[in-house]
């Protein structure tokens, strides 16, 4: 079974995000960028499937600027076999990503696509579902466990009420949740070996997909700063403040 894992280069989860002075977005210049953490989980799962003999090849694909190649290298260093970089400097939304991925799937013919449930920059949580719909493949989203059967997958999903296990037919789309696994580190020798693994470079424009964003960003603002608390002297004072000042009673 061949597995395709799409990965996104995002602002590192440790970075303190700052809004650009003109409010057009967040500051990305000189900011540390990394692989979307959910995508690391996807790669880890793919590698485990390969290690247990259930998968044969892992292809990582990233759509983004030239630097997204570094994100692909991270995936290759973890254990993916080869990479595909689809270059664009434009902001692209989930619909365009899903359309491009559909074309990649048609060319690569994987049996399984494992995506992160969302990317931590825009938190859209749409790409996997859209891709599933476009391909007409089954989907198992928010996976916290995957068992491969005969032409099927048992996917345990994290849903609001707890866990739910669904059996889906291959080929399939799976999106990963936080508890699926703990991604491995790429060792120093594997980082070096990853340099010799192939990365195909393509241009997003060549996919004949309309990349134009359909959303307009009206403004970006910092979350309100938390105001200093006050210590109240009595329950009476607390209730009156909650009623008169906070207006929550």
């Amino acid at each position: 079974m061949k597995i395709l894992v799409p990965v996104k280069r995002v602002i590192d989860f440790n970075v303190k995000v700052r809004v650009k002075s003109d409010g057009s977005g967040v500051e990305l210049a000189n900011v540390k960028m990394s692989m979307n953490p959910f995508d690391e989980i996807s790669i880890e799962e793919a590698i485990r499937l390969k290690e247990s003999g259930k998968a044969t090849e892992i292809v990582v694909v990233s759509i983004g600027p030239q630097q997204a190649q570094e994100t692909l290298r991270t995936g290759l260093a973890m254990g993916a076999d080869r990479g595909i970089l689809i270059k664009t400097d434009q902001t692209i939304e989930p619909l365009a990503v899903a359309k491009i991925l559909k074309a990649v799937v048609e060319e690569e013919k994987p049996e399984l696509v494992i995506l992160g449930k969302q990317a931590i920059d825009d938190d859209c949580n749409q790409t996997g579902q859209m891709l599933s719909a476009m391909l007409g493949w089954s989907q198992g989203t928010f996976a916290s466990n995957i068992d491969v059967g005969e032409g099927t997958l048992d996917v345990t999903r994290e849903v609001d009420g707890g866990l739910e296990t669904v059996q889906i037919k291959l080929p399939a789309i799976v999106t990963t949740d936080l508890r699926l696994n703990e991604p491995r580190y790429a060792s120093l020798p594997n980082i070096m070996k990853a340099k010799r693994k192939p990365i195909d470079v393509k241009l997003a424009e060549d996919f004949g997909v309309d990349l134009t964003p359909r959303l307009t960003v009206l403004g970006t603002v910092e979350p309100p700063v938390r105001k200093a608390g006050v210590i109240v002297n009595s329950v009476k004072e607390l209730v009156s403040k909650l009623r008169d000042e906070a207006g929550v009673l």
Binding site: S34, R73, Y185, S187, L188, P189, I191
Partner: protein, 379 residues
């Protein structure tokens, strides 16, 4: 001249930083307070390639450069300086076997050293010979296919936990030319250890005397040739000095970062202490000194990799400067934390105790000046 890190170097740096913050930092206080040598964590580090960073890849090393190693040690030291420093000593000893050993010796010891299934120790110092290392007195008398070792090594990092002791011994005349380098394995009869030293810092690694009492070691364990030992020891320590300097940079950088966030939180006189210009200037100086030390260290690391003529002098300059700046930045960070800096609730005092010894070992900072001045006044 490009001062930015390469894509690879950023990947090494990220890996080391992640490992330090996930696998080392949460335990550093425990290791320090309870003097725990974290064997499992060390092996986990080795599984990522940190056991033989600049050991060639033929026998399990990562085959990277000295600059790569400096970048890595700086990050590891942010998690636990003492543990990072032990890893650096282990790397130094493994490299000596890799670089000066024959292929039998390399295949015999390096795979286990690179995976840290075995731990290495570097044994030069003796009770009567510290800065004057070439005066060492541990004797190795050749007897057929064995050397018989007698003498005592002092202050040996990793002693007793270590499996592979890279020992400088006297096989010939007085002075540097009569010294040889021999590997002694842990269970060799006649090898024993002194009591654990009680130290100010570096508590996550043992330090003790290593004692040889008619200790018979096969001639096959001689690294390089007889008489080459001092040159081997000094060659190893050029890299060791860079690593220890890098460990000081890491400790200082994290203490600087911690101070900056502390100053934004801590309020006195009705405002965050970060608002006081005197303290801002202190931070500015700390950051500047640290950056200068890092540049010097990275340059020296490149020179050692390239085996340039000035490499030893530069390594000495970098070790002296980075460990002095490292200590003073950590000390300033402690001051900026006020009374809280003196408490174990904050890690600053641990970093301070750990980096202090970097000014003393791998050649004291006075001896660094001796080396630098000797080069300067050479002709």
């Amino acid at each position: 001249m490009d001062f930015s890190l390469s894509e690879d170097q950023r990947a090494f740096q990220d890996l080391a930083a992640d490992f330090a913050s996930n696998a080392m930092e949460p335990h550093a206080r425990d290791w320090d307070e309870n003097s725990i040598f974290p064997v499992e964590t060390l092996r986990e580090a080795a599984s990522l390639g940190f056991g033989g960073i600049y050991v060639s890849d033929e026998f399990g090393g990562s085959g990277l450069s000295r600059l790569d190693a400096a970048i890595i040690f700086e990050e590891l030291a942010k998690g636990c300086t003492s543990t990072a420093a032990y890893i650096s000593i282990h790397n130094m000893a493994a490299w000596m076997i890799d670089h000066f050993g024959n292929s039998d010796q390399r295949s015999r010891w390096l795979p286990d050293l690179c995976s840290m299934q075995k731990f290495a120790c570097y044994c030069l110092t003796e009770p009567g010979s510290g800065s004057d290392a070439a005066a060492l007195a541990t004797q190795a008398a050749k007897n057929g296919d064995h050397y018989v070792l007698n003498g005592t090594k002092a202050f040996i990092s990793g002693a007793e936990k270590g499996d592979v002791y890279v020992v400088m011994v006297r096989t010939g005349e007085q002075g540097a030319k009569g010294i040889s380098c021999i590997v002694v394995e842990k269970d060799t009869p006649g090898l024993s250890f002194g009591a654990q030293e009680h130290k100010m810092g570096w508590k996550s690694q043992p330090t003790a005397q290593v004692i040889f009492d008619d200790c018979k070691v096969p001639v096959a364990n001689l690294i390089g040739n007889e008489g080459q030992g001092f040159a081997i020891a000094m060659s190893g320590i050029d890299g060791g000095r860079l690593n220890i300097g890098a460990c000081s940079l890491g400790a200082a950088q994290t203490c600087l970062d911690r101070s900056i966030s502390y100053m934004k939180d801590r309020k006195q006189f009705g405002k965050p202490i970060a608002a006081f210009q005197a303290l801002q200037f202190r931070i500015a100086d700390m950051a500047t000194d640290l950056e200068a030390a890092r540049l010097l260290l990275h340059q020296a690391a490149q020179m050692v990799t390239d085996k340039l003529p000035g490499a030893t002098k530069h390594a000495a300059m970098a070790k002296r400067y980075a460990t002095d700046v490292g200590f003073s930045v950590v000390n300033d960070a402690l001051q900026l934390h006020g009374g809280y800096g003196y408490l174990r609730d904050y890690p600053i005092e641990r970093f301070l105790r750990d980096v202090r010894v970097h000014q003393i070992l791998e050649g004291t900072n006075e001896i660094m000046r001796v080396i630098i001045a000797r080069e300067i006044f050479k002709d």
